[in-house]
């Protein structure tokens, strides 16, 4: 393009919408104007999307083809607190804990780019603590169900496929949350030490992408497994 002859190097910011797509792919430069780590995290999350989708589709398949009636999650996950029987309460609390952690993470990313190290570290630690709380509540939920006789091959409430779908999906998600907590702690510690003062704080956003994705997956699990 001769309009760039003023010595300006064409950047990724040329054009928006479809013009932008064409320019990004046709110009003699990197296709995606972002740090490579961020692009790789996005691609990993895309592949992870497929993993969780396959689990949820598998769950749909066994639930649709089950001859016995499917256990009512509203009752299976009910708790009696202070003599009051509240349906699905534990799962609702877990949802709020995870959403709160997403909020603190989003703010950590923001303070990271402002180079406010102290607030970034504090917010990342808060996120990790909320994530650990979530995993703890999930461990409680698993313990309760296992005591009630829920197994991957049978359960006292109805269709035997319930257990395998439950342990597989929530287990894999819980593993993601646990890994995320470790990831957050490692990065928070490095931020604290000033490791990224030179490189820039893109890493906090990358960690944030992973964390928000874990929250995103929970939105789908909550809708399809617990509410449906």
């Amino acid at each position: 393009m001769n309009s760039e002859s003023s010595g300006q190097i064409p950047t990724a910011e040329t054009g928006t919408g479809w013009t932008g797509v064409v320019n990004d792919w046709a110009a003699d430069k990197e296709n995606f104007a972002m740090p490579w780590g961020k692009l790789m995290m996005w691609l990993f999350l895309l592949s992870d999307t497929f993993i969780f989708s396959v689990f949820l589709v598998g769950y749909m398949n066994v639930r649709m083809s089950a001859v016995d009636s499917w256990p009512n999650p509203s009752e299976v996950f009910a708790l009696t607190i202070g003599g009051q029987h509240i349906p699905l309460i534990l799962i609702a609390l877990m949802t709020f804990v995870l959403i709160t952690s997403s909020g603190t993470m989003a703010m950590a990313v923001n303070f990271g780019y402002r180079k406010d190290r102290k607030k970034t570290v504090m917010l990342m630690l808060a996120t990790a603590a909320l994530g650990a709380t979530f995993v703890g509540m999930q461990a409680f939920e698993w313990t309760k169900l296992i005591h009630e006789g829920v197994r991957p091959w049978e359960n006292p409430f109805g269709a035997s496929q319930f257990g395998s779908a439950f342990f597989m999906i929530t287990g894999f998600h819980g593993m993601h949350v646990s890994a995320g907590v470790i990831y957050l702690l490692v990065i928070a510690n490095r931020v604290r030490k000033g490791h990224y003062e030179e490189k820039g704080y893109d890493i906090v956003e990358i960690t944030g992408l992973y964390w928000h994705f874990v929250d995103l997956v929970w939105v789908f699990i909550f809708a399809f497994f617990y509410l449906w």
């Binding site: 792919w25 995606f32 972002m34 398949n61 001859v67 893109d202 956003e205 944030g208 995103l216 939105v219």
Partner: protein
Amino acid sequence: MSADTGQQHPIGLYLKIWALLFVLSFFSYMVDYFHFEGMLRWFLILVFMFLKAGFIVSIFMHLTWERTAMKLVILLPPVAILVLIILMAIEADYTFLTRLVFFSSS
């Protein structure tokens, strides 16, 4: 790579989305609490789910502010999942009917 190339947005926006996600989660819990049944239940579950997912991806994960080329990379491939859902729903239906026929005849 200097730090100011990153995504920088007002904190207030995050707080608003955060509050919104809380409200939407509360609504989807209410769907269960008030025992909505049938199509209305499924419809409400899906509406709240997609709204929440949309806000998380677009605001918290900053996809709104990414280039269109990037949005396509993230949003286009999952369309294949729709095909899988349709195929597996047909398959599950067939399995269910087969089970009804053979489990009841013995």
